[in-house]
Structure formats: C-alpha cells, structure tokens
C-alpha cells in the first residue's frame, strides 16, 4: 500500500504536470512538446467562468463510434477510428493515416456538474463542455461604500 501518498497519487502527478506546463509556457510562450506516451487522443483542456472544455482531435471518427463516460472527476474517452477499406485493385502510394482503438482516461482539474455535460463533434474535433457546479463558480462580490 502506498502509505506515502496522502492524496490520490495520480492527482498529485497531474498537478505537478500542470504546474510544469504553466511554467514552461511562461518561459517560452509556447506549449510544451508532448511528453506523455501511448495515450490517444491528445487533449486540450481550457476553462471559462462557467465551464470546463475538453477538446480532442479525432478526424474521421464518427460520433457513434465514440463513448464518453464521466464519473466524479474522471473522464474516459474511448472509441474506434475506422478507415473504410478500399476495393481490392487499388494501389497504395502512401499510408500515413492509422486506424484502431483508443481509450483515454483523464482527471478533470475541477469538479463538474454530472447532469450538465455536452459533447459535440465538429470538423473532426470533439468538444466536451462540462458545467462547473454553482459552488465553485467565481462570484463577483460588490463592495459597499460606507
């Protein structure tokens, strides 16, 4: 048993990764080159006051071949990228596009409302919009004059 971790070790790793990312971005003004290996698809995570957005590039993946599950703060994307087979008498010059299965689990950076999740696929980019629950939304506090 990992007795050294008081918190979820993965969460801790994630936190460190994010801090490193932010640091790198401050220094170079560019995103850090991808480091984690073997996980498809790559994701970009962003937020505004009310939502968290998770985006992934999945060109040619049909919505019906995609499965998204959310449990607490864990989001799992799984699916299959199919490339329809051509007729037999074709002659390939280049084959760079790949087909296959994928599964990606990631931990969201904040709590979300499980009843307010939307996913859409446009031009091969999947966008999952997750609403932040009321209690974590930033609130403007007005200052009263004396």
């Amino acid at each position: 048993m990992p007795i050294f971790f008081e918190r979820d070790p993965y969460q801790e790793l994630d936190r460190i990764q994010r801090q490193m990312d932010a640091l790198f971005q401050n220094v170079s003004g560019r995103e850090r080159p991808y480091r984690r290996e073997g996980v498809y698809p790559l994701v970009n995570i962003s937020e505004d006051a009310d939502h968290i957005y998770v985006q992934a590039e999945l060109p040619g993946v049909k919505p019906e071949d995609l499965e998204i599950t959310l449990k607490e703060q864990n989001l799992v994307l799984r699916g299959e990228r199919k490339i329809p087979a051509e007729e037999k008498d074709v002659n390939y010059h280049r084959r760079e596009r790949e087909s296959g299965f994928f599964r990606r689990a990631l931990r969201l950076p904040a709590q979300v409302d499980p009843n307010k999740v939307e996913a859409s696929c446009q031009d091969g980019v999947l966008t999952i919009t997750l609403a932040k629950p009321e209690e974590v939304k930033p609130r403007q506090i007005s200052v009263k004059g004396a």
Binding site: G38, Y40, V43, G124
Partner: protein
C-alpha cells in the same frame, strides 16, 4: 481488421516558405494516397478545418493543399495543451496525367478526400491482339 491501439502523434510542422501574413503555425497533415484504374485519390486528416476553408491548387504537376482552421470564437483560459492548433499545408508532385476539370474534393469530419481523375490518355488501356 486487427485490434490495433492508436498511438498519439506529434504534429509535424510544415517547412516555412517565406513569411506568412497570418500569424499561427502550419502543420503537415497525414495522408493516404491510392490509385485506382480511374483516379488518384488523396485522403488527408485535417481536424478543425471546415469544407469552406480548404484551398486546393494544381499547377503543372504541383498539387498544393491548404486547410485553414477557424479562429477560436471565445477566449478560454488554457489549463493543459497537449496538441498544437494550426493550419495544414502540403505539396505533392503529381506524376500522373490528371483531368483538371474533373477534380472533386469533399471534407467530412475533418477528413479531406480529393479525387483526381486520370486523363483519358493516362488510363490503362487493354490492347487487343488480333490473331489471323
């Protein structure tokens, strides 16, 4: 179909040709190219590019493909960025004789399919050998 697991790939940046007017990065899309008896077909992955933002040009033997992404509408605070976003550009030397008037292109789910029909004289022709 084999049960193959997909591996993520880092996008390769297109070599710069002169300076671009628009800011942003340009990447090389992954392509499949195959040939049938009638046509040369090119399939390119260009996620984020809608059909109205694809420019295809065939000049002499040089085929150029440019896919421009739509600029993001709202400003979000980035928490994690694993993949970079940018336009797509790639050039090919087309050796085949292509019927330029019949080129067809379509974009679906971020995948461009380009059909370049072969010109009449480039199509394989079966020559009958007559015997007396």
């Amino acid at each position: 179909m084999t049960e193959q697991e997909l591996k993520p790939k880092v996008k390769e940046e297109a070599p710069a040709k002169g300076e671009r007017v628009r800011p942003g990065r340009v990447f090389i899309p992954a392509v499949d190219i195959f040939e049938t008896a009638q046509a040369l077909v090119l399939v390119a992955d260009m996620p984020g590019v809608s059909s109205d933002r694809v420019t295809i040009d065939l000049k002499e033997n040089l085929l150029t493909i440019l896919g421009q992404i739509s600029p993001p509408a709202e400003k979000h605070v980035i928490l994690a960025q694993e993949y970079a976003i940018g336009d797509y550009y790639r050039e090919f030397q087309v050796g085949e004789l292509v019927d330029k008037d019949k080129i067809e292109a379509s974009v679906k789910n971020g995948v461009l399919t380009l059909t370049l029909p072969k010109a009449e004289k480039a199509k394989p022709r079966r020559i009958e050998v007559k015997s007396d």
